[in-house]
Symmetry: C2
Subunit: 398 residues, 2 copies
């Protein structure tokens, strides 16, 4: 029997999927589970998007252009205009979700063995995609005490080596919910210029910025057009995770030419997803206002509830729909497993993501969990009651 | 400005896409182009598939299971049963087209620097995916004189090195249309056993076997379950290229566990494509009978027309909807470009794929082109008249 690849062996498992067998146990035991573990919103997808798919008049379901429908790319350019991001249809490739945008960007910019600096905690699949691309992640630790603000640039500089070829951020951040300020982005820009690095920015939570705080894109930064790659997705924007439509965006012509070759090899992004995505661009502003109001209400409730619990601390994030909370526990992997295997309160329990999976530094995040506030307030309330009671009886509370 | 990756630089461009600028020229000049260059069938997608998508009752367009809907996988297992392929829902991962199945299979089985032996000419994107995975393709040449039959096993053995970790075939073959016999597959099986190799087989043209010849799958070969990976796609089966639904199939548990981690990192395959694919499993047999009859008619016509042309030779393929023809020309890249740039017959021209892009050995395929007989017979007739006339006046005819 031939041996599978070293990559296949070292590919990290998703931190959330690890818990799935225990969730099965909880289900078998008849417990209701509040799923705060994944970023799958309960918000309805805009009707305008779903209707467009239903009304499509397709006879032969053909390949599309490898960079995506030109009509969609042109309209998408206007969408970015609303955020003062000026790009045209040739500066974007429509991808199969943000995931593929990231995969293609990594293969385009980096060679195996190259190093990329990422503030941690970060979206767990960055580890997986880096592993697949043979890229080495150098994490810069951000701290719960500062709400996961940008670590000092000196911490980034400590990690610069001849192998360093890029930095990557997620803004607004998953899993932290942190929204980078213009000042923080300007500091990163100086670093990018000083060491001539690629600057990858995952901005899929653009629509989820709260408290009147300004969304600043890497595309707003002047003078680093050839360094910047914007990674995007419609999954969260329109609650359309299953459409699998994202985008890779850059003004660097070399990047776009190489990225297109990777895109051509896989032929095209999904047609129905693109039809939906194009129609979704006409989603009325009220949809987003309603969604944003809903998330602010959920966030305020969850953060408040968490901070009222004995021994719990959770900074208030300004973006996305996640937060990371510090709990009085020994080990978040064990705690999350215990919640599913051994705990119930009135026949219910809660599923959380251990924060360990969002750190690349071993041992980090052991007393932290990520919560996605993607349920309605009634359910969130019950979930918080569950968690509060769980913490009271957890045998390895510290 | 940072340098893009070596991979990005060396990634081969699609042999077909290279001609696109010239096709633009032909279009601007107002010429009608018969597209025999790509495997985009004109056959209508089954209504049952498109209707299922239109009738879907989705409120929140969620991620699916990373391995694809369980309901789809279970029904898909029955589909394979019809071909005497016995697999269950845990032995398959639904992918974003056959392309992603191939990408994941390569990352799972091979490390950068590993070698894979592939009979050439082969599907051009195998080069691209190999480049992306850092895999080295060792081609074994097959010949037009034998209709691209399996080269002698001794030719494979000459290429075996300590780095050889797998072989790959496409059966029925793109671009050759060649259908491997049971005897040929048994020979490959012996090779796979002798050197303990992974055996990847792309069988997306299973439904397109002609002349009563038997379709033999790698999954029919006994005793090499842990070596075999079947790569599949619904793109051609249901003329549904834009659905982007494929599958990676293996009985090797290590492969499936690692492949699932790659699949989890990219979250899920497209939801609407899966809905369509699941419904398409109920496509009546008559659909395939009609399609097969249509393709046989087209093939017979095209092969006959080609062989009647002065100096042209084209073996008669038994599968898929491609053929490779030898033409009395100096250089197929130049000839195909000339057809688009400088030739017309009654305001029409024909677009072909130079066979050079399907060989990995430099200099091969220079007097060969690939034709995809994906147009109706009326159009094929006109396309053949174009080609015949083009060959008469091509200035670098040999």
């Amino acid at each position: 029997m031939p041996k599978i690849s070293a990559k296949g062996n070292s590919m990290p498992a998703s931190p959330i999927r690890k818990l799935v067998p225990y969730a099965e146990t909880a289900k078998i035991a008849g417990r209701k589970i509040y799923h705060l573990n994944i970023g799958q919103p309960d918000i309805e997808t805009p009707q305008i998007m779903l209707e467009a798919i239903k009304n499509s008049e397709i006879k032969v379901l053909e390949y599309s252009h490898s960079a995506g429908f030109e009509s969609y790319r042109k309209k998408l350019a206007s969408y970015y205009q609303r955020f003062n991001i000026s790009i045209d249809a040739t500066e974007m490739i429509i991808t199969t979700g943000g995931s593929e945008a990231l995969q293609i960007a990594m293969m385009t910019c980096f060679d195996p063995g190259d190093e990329i600096i990422i503030p941690e905690p970060f979206y767990a699949n960055y580890n997986g995609f880096s592993c697949a691309a043979g890229l080495i992640v150098k994490p810069v630790k951000s701290f719960i005490e500062t709400g996961f603000a940008l670590p000092p640039i000196s911490e980034f500089e400590k990690l610069i080596s001849p192998k360093t070829k890029g930095i990557m951020i997620c803004n607004p951040g998953n899993p932290t919910g942190y929204l980078y300020s213009r000042e923080e982005l300007e500091l990163l820009k100086q670093l990018v210029i000083k060491y001539d690095l690629f600057f990858l920015s995952d901005e899929v939570y653009r629509e989820f910025c709260y408290d009147g705080k300004e969304y600043v894109s890497v595309m707003h930064l002047k003078g680093i057009d050839n360094n910047v790659v914007l990674l995007d997705s419609i999954s969260k924007r329109y609650s359309a995770c299953g459409a699998r439509i994202g985008a890779l965006i850059s003004k660097n012509k070399e990047i776009m030419a190489a990225a297109l070759k990777f895109a051509q090899a896989r032929l095209s992004p999904p047609t129905f997803g693109q039809i939906g995505a194009e129609a979704a661009l006409n989603t009325p502003k009220e949809y987003f206002d309603t969604v944003q109001k809903e998330y602010i209400g959920r966030r305020d409730f969850v953060i408040d509830a968490l901070n009222k619990m004995d021994g719990v601390f959770c900074p208030k994030p300004s973006g996305a729909f996640y937060c990371i909370a510090r709990l009085p526990i020994d080990d978040s992997d064990k705690f999350c497993q215990w919640l599913l295997e051994s705990f119930e309160f009135k026949g219910e329990t809660v599923m959380l993501a251990p924060a360990t999976g969002f750190y690349s530094t071993p041992g980090s995040g052991k007393n932290e969990v990520r919560l996605a506030y993607v349920l309605n307030k009634e359910e969130l309330k019950k979930a918080m009651i569950c968690l509060e009671n769980a913490l009271k009886v957890y045998p390895r509370r510290v």
